[in-house]
């Protein structure tokens, strides 16, 4: 598995674990707020923690969140490639 995808997975699992929940391994087409059950607060925490670990925040300019896990990974891979 590539390192960015792995970091995102770990971070998402930690955020769920803090709330006493398990994160089933997501597929690329799983939706963040649908099948994966993340809400805006969960996602805000994921994005802040990822900024600390990966050094980038692709949502910094106020752009909308993305729908699926695959899109989230792609966005960070793209942002990581640019920085």
């Amino acid at each position: 598995m590539n390192p960015i995808r792995e970091t995102i997975l770990e971070t998402m699992a930690q955020v769920q674990a803090d709330r006493g929940r398990m994160l089933a391994p997501p597929g690329d087409r799983d939706t963040l707020t649908g099948t994966l059950g993340f809400d805006s607060l969960d996602l805000a925490v994921v994005v802040v923690r990822l900024e600390q670990r990966l050094g980038c925040d692709p949502f910094r300019d106020g752009r909308p969140l993305v729908a699926t896990f695959g899109e989230l990974v792609a966005l960070y891979e793209q942002a990581g490639g640019e920085s």
Binding site: D18, R19, T31, L32, T33, G34, D39, S40, L41, L43, A44, V45, V47, V48, R49, D57, F59, R60, D61, G62, R63, P64, L65, V66, A67
Partner: protein, 460 residues
């Protein structure tokens, strides 16, 4: 006020729909009929004040109708309030009874008398109690006159019989604005306040919503949860953002998704009412508003950068002597607690004066969380601050000094457990960092300045 509008709609509109919830649809006539059933039990309370217990939208609307039909001043409690604090408020505010419109009429829980001691605030005009979002500590009740609440309702033919989205709690000031605007103009409300962003987006499309209002966070989440291609099927004419400052990026993304909709962001608080709205597609507001004030409100900035407003729409709190409840008394300048700065002829919101943290529009007072964490065994010192977040504006961060010879991962778990048990979710620290010491001011208080936070490095 409101019952008259319902009677009119029920008469001319036949079975016109007032509400669409996840459970069922309600016509104007059905809601009115339901409210009428309570008349015998409630008419003895004319001129007095009651609390509405139901938390779902139909119950609240029925409660407002019952109150209006019987000359009663109603109080709407915020979502998630627990029964004991509801009773405490009822006693303190002098509410004579609590009405649960969801209960069956024969049910003894439908109308419950309270053990009030206070006589109730004197009300000079038809009014309504709403709770603030809790700027400085716990939520407080604020009395608004119907006249002031409805003064911003648009009645032109453009607004007749439209389809509206309700994304706010209907007992919040913003939610009530949507409710009144829709119901006063024969509109149909789709309630998505309990829906996921995906469901909200799908309902905007499938129910062909025309007017939609939500926080910037709500819109970013909805935009992200729906395939952009699908928005071509949407029919939005007006998009309104409120409750937190709208960023340039969010406004641009909305414009791209809905090129034909008018997009505006609104400045309003539960204490001050609606102050002004901005529709030029940019964050902040034009500096010219200071000289040429928007209708109904004047603005000025104090020496330390706080926005003040002179508004005739402001409400009245329990302790308030400055009565401007009916909207016709002389308005006075009021502090907003919002800090602003001027850049290039534009005024931008930069934070809260009190040091309160805004998490997705919800206000968080650091001291409240600190007092919970300080009780956790092994915690020597704690300071709460806002960690900037591109998604919610800020999230809650706890900087902690642990007692000697303790295990920080055990303490971390205990802090989370204590906060989750005692605080609403948005106040539970999302980040917890451990330190050897926390910075203090020369007088020995915990330093809360941005400068102090910046120089803080976690213990490795």
């Amino acid at each position: 006020m409101i019952a008259g509008r319902f009677e009119e709609q029920a008469r001319i509109g036949g079975a016109r729909l007032a509400l669409r919830t996840s459970e069922r649809d309600w016509s104007y006539a059905q809601l009115l009929e339901h409210a009428g059933q309570f008349e015998q039990q409630l008419n003895k309370f004319a001129g007095q004040q009651i609390g509405i217990v139901g938390q779902d939208l139909p119950a609240r609307i029925i409660g407002l109708l019952v109150a209006d039909l019987n000359g009663i001043t109603p109080c709407l409690f915020p979502a998630g309030i627990n029964p004991s604090s509801m009773n405490d408020w009822a006693v303190r505010m002098g509410l004579v009874a609590l009405l649960n419109p969801s209960a069956r009429l024969a049910d003894s829980s439908a109308v419950v008398s309270t053990e009030r001691r206070a006589s109730g605030t004197a009300v000079s005009a038809p009014s309504l109690w709403l709770f603030t979002s809790g700027t400085t500590g716990p939520p407080q009740p604020v009395l608004h006159s119907w006249q002031a609440l409805t003064s911003t309702v648009h009645t032109s033919s453009n607004f007749k019989n439209r389809r509206w989205l309700l994304a706010y709690d209907s007992a919040s000031f913003a939610g009530l604005q949507v409710l009144l605007q829709a119901l006063f103009t024969g509109g149909t409300i789709s309630d998505v306040s309990q829906c996921t962003p995906e469901e909200s987006g799908q309902r905007i499309i499938s129910e062909q919503i025309e007017f939609a209002s939500g926080t910037p966070t709500f819109w970013r989440m909805v935009l992200g949860a729906v395939d952009p291609q699908q928005w071509q099927l949407a029919n939005l004419k007006q998009i309104t953002l409120g409750g937190e400052a709208a960023s340039e990026g969010t406004l641009t993304a909305l414009k791209a998704a809905f090129p034909h909709a008018r997009i505006s962001h609104i400045y309003a608080t539960s204490e001050l009412g609606v102050c002004f709205s901005v529709s030029d597609g940019h964050a902040g507001f034009p500096a010219s508003y200071l000289q040429t004030p928007p209708a109904g409100c004047q603005l000025r900035i104090t020496g330390d950068g706080e926005l003040e407003v002179l508004s005739s729409h402001c409400g009245r709190t329990l302790e308030d002597d400055e009565v401007c409840v009916s909207g016709d008394a002389t308005p006075t300048w009021r502090a907003t607690g919002d800090l602003v700065e001027l850049r290039d002829d534009r005024i931008y919101f930069t934070g809260r004066k009190s040091g309160a943290i805004l998490v997705g529009g919800g206000k968080v007072v650091p001291e409240e969380i600190e007092s919970v964490i300080r009780e956790v065994p092994g915690v020597a010192e704690v300071r709460i601050s806002g960690q900037p977040s591109s998604v919610l504006g800020a999230i809650v961060k706890a900087d902690v000094v642990a007692s000697p010879d303790t295990d920080s991962s055990t303490i971390r778990t205990a802090i989370l457990a204590a906060c989750q048990a005692q605080l609403p979710r948005h106040k539970v620290p999302a980040m917890i960092e451990f330190h050897n010491t926390l910075p203090r001011t020369p007088s020995g208080k915990l330093a809360r300045s941005a400068e102090a936070t910046k120089n803080l490095r976690p213990k490795s």
